[in-house]
């Protein structure tokens, strides 16, 4: 299997990473090399094998539905690129 340049550009868009034509070309070469490595998996018959998502087969813990965190909004927003009146500023999305 090998990725086309259009596929590389499409997944870059899906991942929201701007990519120039030159970058897409070199990325295509690298990704195809990596997928060649990954392709070894396809020769393995895994019918009937339960997928393993996690090292420990545990169910998620539940906790009491109670407030446990203190309000640290200003500390967390101090590291934001742009804020105003406690809100994160981004370009206008609704006209």
């Amino acid at each position: 299997m090998s990725l086309t340049l259009e596929q590389v550009q499409r997944i870059a868009h899906l991942a929201r990473i701007e990519i120039s034509d030159a970058e897409a070309l070199s990325t295509q070469g690298h990704l195809n090399g990596i997928f060649q490595l990954i392709e070894q998996m396809q020769a393995v018959d895994t019918r009937g094998v339960e997928p393993m998502a996690h090292a420990q087969d545990l169910s998620q813990r539940l906790r009491q539905d109670a407030v446990v965190e203190v309000d640290r909004r200003s500390a967390y927003q101090a590291v934001a690129p742009e804020i105003e009146a406690g809100l994160y500023l981004v370009p206008k999305v609704i006209e």
Binding site: A15, L37, M41, M52
Partner: protein, 485 residues
Amino acid sequence: MINASLKQLSQALAAKQISSVELTQLFLDRIDRLNPSLNAFVTVNAEKSLNSAKAADARIAAGTAGLLTGIPIAQKDIFCAEGWRTTCGSKMLANFVSPYDATVIRKMESEAGLVSLGKTNMDEFAMGSSNETSFFGPVKNPWDQTRVPGGSSGGSAAAVAARLAPAATGTDTGGSIRQPAALCNLTGLKPTYGVVSRYGMIAFASSLDQGGPMAASAEDCALLLNTMSGFDEHDSTSLDRPLEDYSRDLEKPLAGLRIGLPKEFFGEGCDAEVMAAVRAAIAQYEKLGATIVEVSLPNSHLSVPAYYVIAPAEASSNLSRFDGVRYGYRAPEYGSLDDMYMKSRAQGFGAEVKRRILIGAYVLSHGYYDAYYLQAQRIRRLIANDFVEAFKDCDVIMGPTSPTTAFKLGEKAADPVQMYLSDIYTIAVNLAGLPGMSVPCGFVGGLPVGLQLIGNYFTEAQLLNVAHRYQQATDWHQRRPAGIE
């Protein structure tokens, strides 16, 4: 003091032979002098370190000190530490000052009283095996400064090897504690998945990531793991188990220990001289009373392919949070919101991180999920089952940590696949979630070789025992790089 073990430092502090402030200053001076060439630390803040040292001295004076109170440590820059710049080796977080502490930081510094000397360099978002993907430049291996220290915890490894710190933390997603430990002559331990909290440890591949100690000996690692481990309600995958003293079995004799040698680790693919050093270490274990059994991990050759589906898939999801909105890098110029995301991520991430995000986005995308992601998860099960079978016949598995000694800076940087194959012996351990160690076992051409120990789930104390007894019979771990005084 520079080469002292943690236990010796603890005794010196308790006996008031040295204060924590003096000890911390000693290491800060070494960092000042040696870090410009090694590039092991990306952030040092002497004032903060010395303030922690003063607090530690007060605890020692008040008689409320713990075993490691006042001992300096280097923290991998993947752990969020309040008031410390926390970059994860990325331009994306180059100006991020964490507003909170990772659980590991809280336990080691606030509770145990260890003193942070600073934050160590690493591959960007822990994606790399040479420390060359760091936004802050590569780290030099103290054993040969034309060579890599390994990665991703390369800064931690170089810092401890050059004695810029008595010990350090690392994290291991596919070998990132064990491989740099091997390449820099350190002892490093990746615990069973879930033993060390991941809260505040910047996520790469959440089902594989695990923090652990990197130090000069198994004994040091045991003492550090005692402070790092334990249940944490802030990490949904943290295991709620009784606390352990990981140093409890250090002195146990090894008579009767069954060492499993997977035939797949002793075939082709490993440098012959590295293999000879590993075999000599195993012969030493036989002298110590262990017996050897051959075991098989028939699917281990699939661990690198499966890993490079699973880890990028998880990374593409984890790293979607870096969008230039709440924290991290935002592009200086952009149009729409989408454009802001795309430019911020294009400019903030380095090439290797982008590659892995793209692989992850692809294998999770419609039409490819079953063929890649689910297939990789099924192979992950086969790999984990191989270990279950192998541990029916042995107590510990041994083999090389890395197929080669430290390679030259730049040697593999242009070829991702070659770089990925540096981790052929370590990755399966992460996929299965088992504990693993690397222990110094010799030199080839003046460069260190690591012996890998793999244990069954929750056998950290036994692994540390197996490593410690070897270190009592050998002095490889005490060797220090020449030319670094």
